[in-house]
């Protein structure tokens, strides 16, 4: 197929499908870095016009990264559900956008087609959509998962409590955990990024969070965000592992740079399932992704960073995760330069994830070397919550003192729940009320020294060292 589009006297020619995709992408520093971005606005618009005319079927034939050399491509093609696809198989990318925006294309309809949509189709259509389109369609998608509580119900917004500490100090982590719980945070997961890779220290962290969850009988799950091979070893050593975490990317080579492949993730999932620790569901995986990771590993093969990101969702989808988190502004300005680019990327990732059927949340964040600030985060979190975001991060003061980046605070979750009338996961909300953290109207209560959470604090965590 020849990919080209004429505007007036100018004909813009594109080398191949991935060239059309890259040049149709809203401008961002990572695609300039990779040398795949459109050189002019006119070229970008021509690429979009060209993309709009391409049949969705073409993405099954003209794969962007060869089937033979990339296991993610093989996964996408081999797991494609042709029956689910049949409903949209006659559409072009432009038609697909229009179809998604129809009132008659409702939640049930979108759930039916999800497994017939490939990451490339999702990425392609997103490039033709304005922010409001990305918000509206994502809002119509519902993805429900469960482990010790139910995540993703309509009208709910969960949060990951992220009690990181620069030296993994047990009391520091426990203090942040308690702080977050008292603000109603932690229903998605209590997930710690450890500073250390040391297996004995990781074992201690698993036991610490498990102890707190048991002590207060919290209907939530824990996760320690270390390499998947560490987690498999720790499961073998008897660690109380709820969710298995891994960072994933959209190409085989990028995943290799993370030290993983799909088979390893399947093994990890089987190991976590064997522990049977879920009570209301069996979604045992937690994935993190982010635009730019494939390019950063020199493994994007000329595919734009947003499409690479969407391909990572195929890997995630294959493993039925409880949560998938796009850590949108974490990677730095060489991939997403400023607040505008971060906001756009966050909305794209959330839309693509939801369209593909993923329980996707967003680490609404930036680094201090990017041109962004907390106001940009307010904008993005408000837009995403309007779009039905599954979960976001909760960190004391929105300042991660271990990973050194700026994300969202416990208050931010409360702000969004208050603003948009959203609730925590139902089992967790019931617990918040039982523990007198939240009143019957869902308002967070003032905490006195006699509060049961403070009185029941595990005593060894209160002792001075």
């Amino acid at each position: 197929m020849v990919y080209q589009h004429s505007v007036g006297a100018n004909t813009y020619k594109f080398k191949n499908l991935k060239d059309v995709m890259a040049k149709a992408t809203p401008a961002r520093s990572g695609d300039f870095l990779a040398g795949v971005a459109a050189e002019t606005y006119a070229e970008r618009m021509a690429a979009r016009m060209c993309l709009a005319e391409i049949p969705l079927k073409m993405f099954l034939q003209d794969v962007l990264i060869p089937y033979e050399s990339d296991e993610v491509t093989r996964l996408i093609i081999d797991s494609h559900n042709t029956q689910a696809f049949s409903r949209i198989s006659h559409l072009t990318v432009g038609d697909f956008r229009n179809w998604l925006l129809l009132d008659t294309t409702d939640t049930a309809c979108l759930m039916q087609v999800a497994s017939g949509v490939t990451p490339e189709m999702a990425a392609a259509v997103s490039k033709l959509m304005r922010n409001q389109d990305l918000i509206l369609v994502a809002k119509k998608c519902t993805v429900i998962t469960a482990f010790r509580n139910t995540i993703g119900l309509s009208g709910h917004l969960s949060s990951r409590l992220q009690p990181n500490h620069p030296t993994d100090d047990a009391r520091g982590i426990a203090a942040s955990m308690l702080d977050g719980l008292l603000y109603g945070s932690g229903d998605a997961v209590i997930g710690i990024n450890p500073a250390t890779d040391s297996l004995p220290a990781l074992m201690d962290l698993y036991c610490l969070v498990d102890e707190v969850i048991n002590q207060y009988e919290i209907p939530t799950q824990s996760c320690i965000l270390t390499h998947v091979t560490n987690q498999i070893q720790l499961i073998e050593k008897g660690a109380p592992v709820d969710l298995v975490f891994q960072s994933i990317a959209g190409t085989e080579a990028a995943n290799k740079s993370f030290g993983i492949d799909i088979k390893l993730l399947e093994e990890a999932r089987a190991a976590a399932l064997s522990l049977r620790r879920g009570t209301v569901g069996n979604n045992v995986m937690y994935f993190e992704t982010g635009q730019g990771s494939a390019l950063s590993a020199n493994a994007s093969f000329g595919v734009d960073q947003q499409t690479c990101e969407a391909r990572a969702y195929a890997v995630a989808r294959h493993l039925s995760p409880l949560l998938t988190n796009t850590v949108v502004g974490f990677i730095g300005p060489e991939y997403l330069y400023d607040g505008k680019q971060i906001i756009r990327a966050g909305l794209e990732d959330h839309f693509c994830g939801k369209l593909l059927g993923l329980p996707i949340g967003c680490d609404v964040c930036y680094t201090n070397h990017a041109e962004a600030d907390q106001d940009d985060m307010d904008t993005l979190m408000t837009l995403l919550a309007s779009a039905g975001l599954t979960f976001l991060m909760g960190i004391p003061g929105a300042d991660d003192i271990m990973l050194n980046y700026q994300t969202t605070s416990f208050h931010d979750t409360l702000y969004l729940r208050n603003l948009l009338g959203l609730k925590a996961a139902p089992e967790f909300e019931q617990w918040l009320k039982k523990m007198n953290i939240m009143d019957q109207q869902g308002r967070v209560q003032a905490i006195t020294q006699q509060h049961p959470m403070l009185l029941k604090m595990p005593s060894h965590l209160l002792k001075q060292l």
């Binding site: 100090d169 004995p200 590993a297 300005p333 201090n368 050194n404």
Partner: protein, 215 residues
């Protein structure tokens, strides 16, 4: 402070003076990134030596070393100004005596992977990159160490082990040095670093409380 730390230039002269006073030889090299703007937008530039620096190292024609230390400004020169010299002192005080380490290489406008190229040219069996981490709002001076065994320009992130958060409120110099030497000895034993090398150093360490004393 975090925003300022990103743009603060590394005072190479002051660092060299301090390290020389500790009895160490130093070499200063530059990446392909010519200024901060190109450093921030072109990570590929920060990962490779510029032509002059590459030739400079090649012409040294030095003997192979066991354990090379590279210091890179990264995203926080403040971290290097504050922590590089005392941390190197702590590392050298406990590293095995028979290990040769050669000169300390100071790389400016540097990203982690530039250490691989430097180490390959200098024939180093292992390299420890001491680099200024991305500054956080309340942690603008955090230093990280990346250890690579058999470093070369084909290495990727899965080949490295990382020790992060070295600063007053984080990991102390002595704890970081102990961890690094433990990892380096293990890397030498299994002839690999990165995902293959699991940190079990806390098994052999004295009370964990040591980690919390701060630097």
């Amino acid at each position: 402070m975090a925003r300022d730390a990103v743009h603060l230039a590394l005072d190479v002269h002051a660092l060299e003076t301090t390290l020389n006073a500790q009895g160490l030889r130093t070499i200063h090299v530059c990446s392909k990134a010519t200024d901060r703007a190109s450093y921030l937008l072109r990570p590929d530039f920060g990962r490779r030596l510029n032509e002059a620096s590459r030739l400079q190292l090649q012409q040294l024609n030095t003997a192979p070393v066991d354990f090379l230390i590279v210091v890179g400004d990264g995203l926080s020169s403040l971290a290097i100004h504050r922590h590089a010299a005392p941390l190197i002192e702590a590392i050298h005080s406990i590293q095995p005596e028979h290990w040769s380490f050669g000169s300390i290489v100071i790389a400016t406008q540097a990203r982690v992977a530039i250490a691989d190229e430097i180490a390959e040219i200098l024939n180093a069996r292992m390299v420890a990159m001491l680099i200024g981490e991305r500054p956080g709002l309340s942690s603008p001076d955090s230093l990280g160490i990346y250890l690579t065994f058999n470093p070369n320009i084909r290495c990727n992130d899965a080949d490295r082990n990382c020790i992060s958060n070295i600063r007053a409120e984080g990991l102390s110099y002595s704890a970081a040095a102990k961890k690094l030497i433990w990892l380096a000895q293990e890397a030498a034993r299994i002839q690999a670093s990165g995902v293959m090398l699991k940190d079990e150093s806390d098994h052999i360490e004295l009370p964990v409380v040591n980690l919390e004393l701060g630097g």
